[in-house]
């Protein structure tokens, strides 16, 4: 289990993480969403033992992470850089990591390598971006760590490869209760892989819930009213977004669906449709509510 309590991280004067509390149970596929600079990569680096927090605790399985070999052996971090592995061939990379991770599996490595068909004796800097990514994911999965952290890990992968990698992750999660934390801007993939998501903005966690309850908590309403109601007319509801187009009114409302319906029915809508939102739409509207939107760009 991953536990973050009161976690604060600063880079000089900039507060990257502001008093974060987060618990990620074992076996969770956890998605980290957020605006650019929200602190997602910072969390992952603290969990990998790369950064040390200024305040608060960061524990994995009850032990502090930083400078702790026994904890770090349980964590594998795949970041968004590909340059760092350039000196190695795939086999050399395997041999390098095999030394450090006690549970490294040659069998899994061979199986994954043969599935993806990457060249064994070619230097990784001669691979394409996607091939580099594939190589690192293979190594990460072969290390058989309890925790796998992926920062924009799907970037550069073709659609087929994305499916393969996702399947590998899911298989691993099912086989050995792998806990995965994925930070990505590709919300479709988060939607497909993760069961829990947290949204971050400016170093704080906006929400941390399982995906179903996230989706169940925010709704898109398309309604038509006999009277043209403005936004203030819906002040009894938590409206994230209000838009009117001729006779139709579009609302993004947070809350229970039945409650929303009953409150809107009071206004006797001529048409009332509640449409489910995608995760991307949820992200955009939540951010808009926090003032992080594109309305200023004309």
């Amino acid at each position: 289990m991953i536990e973050l309590k009161g976690l604060t991280k600063r880079f000089d004067d900039f507060v990257a993480l502001d008093n974060i509390d987060l618990t990620i149970p074992e076996g969770t596929a956890f998605g980290l969403l957020g605006s650019n600079g929200a602190g997602k990569s910072t969390i992952l680096r603290i969990l990998s033992g790369i950064y040390k927090q200024e305040a608060g605790d960061a524990h994995i399985d009850g032990e502090p992470i930083f400078d702790n070999v026994s904890v770090k052996e349980k964590v594998f971090f795949i970041n968004d850089e590909t340059i760092q592995f350039s000196r190695f061939t795939l086999i050399e990379l395997k041999d390098f990591y095999k030394r450090f991770y006690p549970k490294f599996s040659e069998e899994i490595f061979e199986k994954l390598k043969n599935t993806i068909k990457l060249p064994s004796d070619k230097r990784i800097d001669q691979f394409s971006k996607g091939m580099k990514r594939q190589a690192v994911v293979i190594i990460g999965l072969s290390c058989q760590t309890d925790y796998l952290l992926l920062d924009e890990a799907f970037d550069g992968l073709d659609p087929t490869m994305r499916i393969i990698v996702k399947r590998m992750l899911v298989d691993a999660m099912l086989d050995r209760k792998l806990t995965t934390i994925i930070s990505s801007h590709n919300l479709k993939e988060i939607n497909e892989v993760c069961d829990t998501v947290a949204l971050m903005h400016k170093g704080k966690i906006i929400f941390n819930r399982d995906l179903d309850s996230v989706k169940g908590n925010i709704h898109k309403v398309q309604a038509a009213f006999a009277i043209d109601y403005d936004k203030d007319a819906f002040s009894d509801l938590e409206v994230l977004h209000y838009e009117r187009n001729q006779s139709l009114t579009y609302l993004i409302i947070k809350g229970d669906e039945e409650e929303i319906k009953s409150k809107l029915n009071i206004k006797k809508p001529l048409v009332l449709d509640i449409i489910p939102l995608t995760l991307e739409e949820i992200f955009i509207y939540e951010m808009e509510g926090l003032g992080y939107d594109c309305t200023e760009i004309n």
Binding site: R45, V69, F77, F100
Partner: protein, 761 residues
């Protein structure tokens, strides 16, 4: 199959890093093999060829070999030495390359995550990266060292003159000894290169700063110490730059280490007390360890996110930039001329601001840089001014207490300059007190002169060195080295005058002093006998050709030294400083010149046993005894004959160009060593001799006669104003004025010979 976990990830990382450095280690090995081993091989070839040539040439000179049968003269191996030196330099620089590679995650952002997320603690990571780099760097050097030792050993077998070649390098009896010391010294110098590189990289966060300051610091450290030290300490009275700065310079940087080894090789002549191991190597290793340990503390406190900042520890940058400003200031105000302040400020400001712009990656907040510069400059000038005003924070006036001193080494030629400068080590309390007393007198004189001085524009070095020896420009150079009970040493050098030197008069008659002077003579003769199979001692005075005694072995030498030692220890202070017995002659070696009289009965017996005819000295030879001048001293000061200052005021010299009966009388009673009231001296064959006070009337008579003649002669010269001087060698010197005439006679080449003055009307 699941991998087996290794017991310690440190070794895992270390072996991996060594393996990944294999290629550069091979390059290092090749460079190291091109350096010393190739030089040694070529030296062997050269010396062997030279042996062959010399043997053939010997036969040729004996007429046993035709000229066209002579082998060609061997080419000097200088080109190989040059290549070897370059290869060595390149091999040394590889240490920086390896350090940059092993610690790349400290300045290259793309490497941070991969390295820092590995299951290693900070300590494990540092240890494995540091050690693996050191091994990759130094193992090739050691291999090359072993090869060099083998080649050197082969050289000592096949080359007859291999040891002599070593002997030419100042006293090494074995070239293998030299090679071993060079390997040990080279090893630790390279280790320091590496440790300093890691230290600098730990302070920096970007590639440019890491490489620039790593290279730069290797030049900056010795440069700042040498320039700053020389320019500031070099101005301080009594403080010799070499003694003060060289010990620091040679132990604090790799370039300094190279200077240290060269210093050791050049100075080491068997008589020098400088020890390779305790004097240089051990302190050098300690400083290297300081760099390595400091690197660890800097590394430990770094954060992964610090990469890409120019400097992780800005303090390091400010220390460097302040030192640079300090050194520039020292250069500009070396001569303490106020006219240099404006150029100093302009130049140092430019350098400072350029560094700031580079570090800040642009001109942002340049006004802050200007403020920092101003503060730095003010601080530097204040420090330099305080250093000047307080004479090096009181360093000039530092004299240890007698209770703190275990021994003192005095390097000076003796009160009568009987010995070439060599050090005597004094442990007796009285001797130490006398030295302290002398030292105090020197500094008292300095303080008085400093108060009186109003010539602010005169460069300090010139004025103090020349001026603070009172009216006596024939000063004696004395070097004092206090060995303190704490293990520290304090060294000072002065040119001292007679008054000050008198403090040492008791020392010169002590057994401790005499024994060491005798030992110095013994070593000198032993060295000559060892290297050249013979030595000789000469006996001469101003009226004879030298008579020599050849020594083939040390038994006769010991006999002589025992006689000399016994006599020197028996002589009374009165007879030593104001001898009444007639001067018989000098006993001279290459490094001593002791006047012998009847106070040395054992020496006389020894000389007579070796057929040295002392009584010839009593026969006066007017031709050989060339009395050149007589000087009258109209002051009352007590002085030494060897410091007798004919150039000073109240000293009047008259040249003697005629025969007078007083000359023979005085020639028999003058003394080469004398400390007392010297009213008259005579210059005989170019050396000054004191006329004992009881013979002053004879000297006065001679002086007046010479004066009278010269005055008459001078009037003639003054009236006629031109003529010429012809010497016994028929060299002709023309003069057209009285001044030119006087200048000619002041020339020893003329005045030491028979000459005739011809005045042309």
């Amino acid at each position: 199959m699941t991998a087996q976990k290794l017991t310690d990830n440190t070794y895992t990382n270390m072996f991996y890093k060594i393996k990944s450095n294999i290629r550069i280690s091979v390059v290092a090995l090749i460079l190291n093999l091109i350096s010393a081993p190739v030089i040694l091989i070529n030296m062997i070839i050269y010396l062997k060829a030279q042996e062959k040539y010399n043997a053939a040439y010997m036969l040729y000179t004996q007429g046993l070999l035709a000229e066209n049968a002579l082998p060609p003269y061997p080419n000097s191996p200088e080109i190989y030495i040059a290549v070897g030196v370059f290869a060595t330099a390149a091999a040394v620089l590889i240490g920086i390359v390896i350090a940059m590679g092993n610690f790349s995650y400290l300045y290259k952002k793309s490497n941070v995550d991969m390295v820092m997320s590995l299951p290693l603690t900070t300590r494990q990571r540092f240890t494995s990266d540091f050690l693996s780099g050191a091994i990759s760097y130094l193992a090739p050097f050691l291999m090359s060292g072993i090869v060099s030792m083998i080649i050197s050993f082969i050289g000592s077998i096949v080359v007859k003159d291999w040891s002599e070649f070593a002997g030419q390098l100042n006293g090494f009896s074995s070239i293998n000894d030299l090679v071993v010391k060079l390997i040990i010294g080279g090893f630790f110098i390279m280790l320091m290169v590496y440790a300093l590189a890691v230290f600098t990289i730990s302070c920096c966060g970007s590639f440019f700063e890491a490489i620039a300051y790593t290279l730069g610091l290797n030049l900056l450290i010795p440069g700042i110490i040498a320039a700053g030290g020389y320019l500031l300490l070099g101005n301080l009275y009594g403080i010799n730059f070499e003694n003060s700065i060289i010990p620091v310079l040679t132990k604090t940087s790799p370039i300094g280490g190279v200077i240290g080894i060269a210093y050791y090789l050049l100075d080491y002549n068997g008589d020098n007390n400088f020890s390779f191991y305790t004097g240089w190597l051990i302190p050098f290793i300690i400083v290297t360890l300081i760099y390595a340990i400091s690197s660890w503390f800097l590394y430990k406190n770094r954060k992964a996110e610090d990469v890409s900042k120019p400097f992780v520890y800005k303090l390091f940058y400010y220390i460097v930039i302040t030192c640079i400003t300090f050194t520039i200031s020292s250069i500009f105000i070396f001569d303490r001329s106020s006219g240099n302040i404006v150029p100093l400020i302009i130049f140092s400001a430019i350098v400072y601001l350029i560094l700031e712009v580079i570090t800040n990656r642009g001109f942002k907040k340049v006004w802050l840089s200007a403020i920092r510069y101003a503060i730095t400059m003010i601080c530097v000038l204040i420090v330099i001014s305080i250093m000047d005003f307080t004479d090096g924070f009181g360093m000039v006036y530092q004299i240890p207490k007698a209770s703190q001193i275990s021994s003192v080494e005095l390097d000076y030629p003796g009160i009568f300059e009987s010995y070439e400068s060599s050090a005597v080590k004094l442990k007796e309390k009285d001797a130490i007190s006398n030295v302290i007393s002398m030292h105090s007198d020197v500094l008292d004189l300095y303080k008085e002169e400093k108060k009186a001085e109003n010539d602010v524009d005169t460069p300090k070095a010139t004025s103090y060195m020349n001026k603070y020896n009172s009216a006596d420009y024939r000063a004696t150079f004395v070097k004092i080295k206090y060995n303190l009970k704490s293990g520290a040493q304090l060294t000072r050098e002065y040119s001292v005058n007679s008054d000050v030197l008198k403090n040492l008069s008791d020392i010169e008659l002590s057994d401790e002093y005499i024994d060491q002077r005798i030992q110095s003579i013994r070593s000198s003769i032993f060295k000559m006998i060892t290297l050249e199979n013979y030595s000789e001692i000469s006996f001469y005075n101003f009226s004879e050709q030298p008579q020599n005694i050849d020594f083939k072995n040390m038994t006769e030498v010991e006999e002589m030294l025992t006689a000399l030692s016994t006599d020197m220890k028996s002589i009374s202070p009165e007879e030593f400083y104001t001898p009444s017995k007639p001067f018989l002659g000098f006993m001279g070696l290459s490094n001593i010149n002791i006047p012998i009289n009847e106070n040395y009965p054992n020496v006389i017996k020894f000389l007579e046993k070796h057929d040295i005819n002392l009584f010839l000295s009593n026969k006066f030879d007017p031709i050989a005894t060339k009395i050149i001048s007589i000087t009258q001293n109209n002051t009352d000061e007590i002085t030494f004959i060897t410091r007798f200052n004919k150039e000073a005021e109240n000293y009047y010299t008259e040249t003697i160009s005629q025969e007078y009966p007083e000359i023979e009388e005085l020639a028999k009673v003058v003394q080469p060593n004398y400390m007392g009231k010297i009213v008259y001296t005579m210059n005989i064959n170019g050396s000054e001799y004191a006329v004992p006070e009881e013979y002053s009337s004879i000297a006065e008579s001679l002086y007046n006669k010479a004066k009278g003649y010269n005055q008459k002669h001078t009037e003639e010269i003054a009236v006629n104003s031109y003529g010429y001087i012809v010497t016994e060698d028929n060299d002709v010197y023309y003069f057209n004025s009285f001044e030119e005439y006087n200048n000619l006679l002041a020339d020893k080449d003329i005045s030491s010979k028979e000459y005739k003055v011809v005045i042309q009307k």
